[in-house]
Symmetry: C2
Subunit: 259 residues, 2 copies
C-alpha cells in the first residue's frame, strides 16, 4: 500500500519510490497512475476509474495472493481517507491472514503500509502554519456517512475551538455542503476567522487562498481541495494564516536574539 503524497516525485518518500521500483504490478486510480507513469518501467499497470475502488483492491489482493509484488497506490496518505482501510477490510472479509513484512509467522501475504505527506499537511504548508494547535479533520462527503453526523461533528469541533480541516468540500453532485458548514460555523465563530483554501496542492492548477469565514464561498473549490478554518486565535500575516501554539503567553517571540 503505497502513498504517493501530493506530488511526484519531489513529495514522495524514498520508501514509496523503492516499493514502486520493486513492484511487478502497480494498481491504482487512473488519474494518479497517469502522474507516475513516467517513472514506471517494467511494471504491469492495473488502472481503473474512480468508482472501482473495491474491484481495484480485490484485484491487487488476488495478485498478491498469487505471489506477485504489488504496489497499490493512493494519493496523499493512503492511511487518511485512503485505500489502506479498504484493503484490510477486504482481507478480513475473506478471512485472509496478512501481516507486516517483519512478521515471521504464516501469512497469505505480507502487507506494508507506506505513509506519505497527507493532503492536509501539503495544504497547511502552503498556507503558513494553521495546524499548530489541536484540530479536527472532517470529510463533507455524505456518500457513506449521514449528513446529520457530519453536521454534528462540525458543531462539536466549533464548540471546542478546534481548527477544522475539511476534506471533499465539493463534488459535481455535492454542491451545497460547504455552504451549510459555513452557516453552522457562523453561529459561533467570528466572520473574520481566517480560512485557507488550497486547490490541487503541489499539482498543476494549484491555487492557494487565505480568506475569511464570511467570504470563503467566493473562491473556487473542488474535489481536490482542502479547506482549513482557523480557531479563535488564528491570525493572518502577509500571505499566511498562523494558529499560535497555545492559549497562554508563556513565551516571548518579540525579542531580537542579536541584542
Amino acid at each position: 500500500m503505497v502513498s504517493l503524497g501530493p506530488g511526484f516525485p519531489e513529495y514522495v518518500i524514498p520508501r514509496a519510490k523503492a516499493a514502486l521500483d520493486a513492484a511487478q504490478v502497480v494498481a491504482g486510480y487512473r488519474t494518479y497512475l497517469d502522474l507516475i507513469k513516467p517513472f514506471l518501467t517494467h511494471q504491469e499497470i492495473l488502472s481503473s476509474g474512480m468508482k472501482a475502488e473495491v474491484k481495484r483492491c480485490q484485484a491487487a489482493i488476488d495478485r498478491a495472493r498469487a505471489g506477485q509484488w504489488v504496489a497499490l497506490v493512493s494519493s496523499g496518505d493512503a492511511g487518511i481517507y485512503g485505500m489502506a482501510g479498504l484493503v484490510l477490510e477486504i482481507c478480513a472479509a475473506r478471512g485472509l491472514k496478512v501481516g507486516p513484512p517483519e512478521d515471521n509467522g504464516e501469512v497469505d501475504f505480507h502487507l506494508e503500509m507506506v505513509p506519505g505527506v497527507p493532503a492536509l499537511g501539503a495544504a497547511a504548508a502552503l498556507l503558513g502554519a494553521p495546524l499548530m494547535h489541536d484540530f479536527a479533520v472532517i470529510s463533507l462527503s455524505d456518500l457513506l456517512t449521514p449528513w446529520e453526523m457530519i453536521q454534528k461533528r462540525v458543531e462539536l469541533a466549533a464548540a471546542g475551538d478546534l481548527v477544522i480541516v475539511l476534506y471533499n468540500p465539493k463534488s459535481k453532485k455535492r454542491d451545497w455542503q460547504l455552504g451549510a458548514v459555513r452557516e453552522i460555523l457562523l453561529k459561533v465563530k467570528d466572520p473574520a476567522t481566517p480560512v485557507g483554501i488550497v486547490v490541487k496542492a503541489r499539482r498543476e492548477g494549484q491555487e492557494v487562498t487565505v480568506t475569511t469565514l464570511a467570504e470563503m464561498l467566493m473562491h473556487q473549490v473542488d474535489m481536490q481541495t482542502i479547506v482549513i478554518v482557523g480557531n479563535s486565535q488564528t491570525f493572518t500575516y502577509g500571505p499566511y494564516m498562523i494558529t499560535p501554539r497555545g492559549y497562554l503567553s508563556k513565551y516571548q517571540v518579540g525579542e531580537d536574539s542579536s541584542q
Copy 2:
C-alpha cells in the same frame, strides 16, 4: 522550514533532502540533528536543547536575514505542532516581510515550508488503518493550553464519535493526563474500543501495540508516542486496527473478484 518525517533517510521527501543539501546552516533540536548528522557535509550546525525553541528560531531568522540559506529542521511535519508557526510568529512580531520562494515582491527573506510525513501518519500506517474516517488531533501538553480546554476537546471529540489522535500523552513532569483522558472516554465509549499505541515510529526503540480503552494504561508511553483511540466502528483484525470508511454499508467487500 524543513520537515524530517519520522525517520531519516527513508521517510524524508526529496524536497526536504534537497533543502538540507542546499543549506549553508542547519538549525534544530539537538536530538533530531544527531539523527541526520551522517548526511550533513558542509553545513554549519546550530543545535540547541528542547527548551530553546524560541532562541533557535530567532537564530535561524537572523542568519536568513543576513543572506544565508538556512534549513530549520523539525521532526515529523513542521506544520503539525511543529516549529513552522513559531518562525512565522517571530517574523510577525519583528515586523519582517517574508514570502514563499515564488514571491517576486520585496521581502526580508524567502521562506519555504517543506511538509513531511507527520507522526500521526507514521503511527497510523504501523497500526493498520485507524484514520479512514473523521478524526480529532489533540495534544495533552498543558504547558501552553489550560487543562480544562484539553478536557473539553476530548469530551466533544468523543461525543462526535471522532477517532482521536493524542500527541504528547506523557512526559517526565506530566504523568496523569492520559489516565484522565481515559476516564473521560470511558464515560461514553465501550471499554473494548480499540486503541493503538506507537512509540518512536520508524526509529530505534519502535513499539507498536493494539490494545483497548480498558487496558491502554498497561503499556509504555512517552513523549515520542502517538495514541489513537478508535471510533464506535473501529475493529481489530490480526495485528491491525481498522476504522471503516463510513457508517453505511453501500459497498460489498466480501465478494471475490476472481469468481
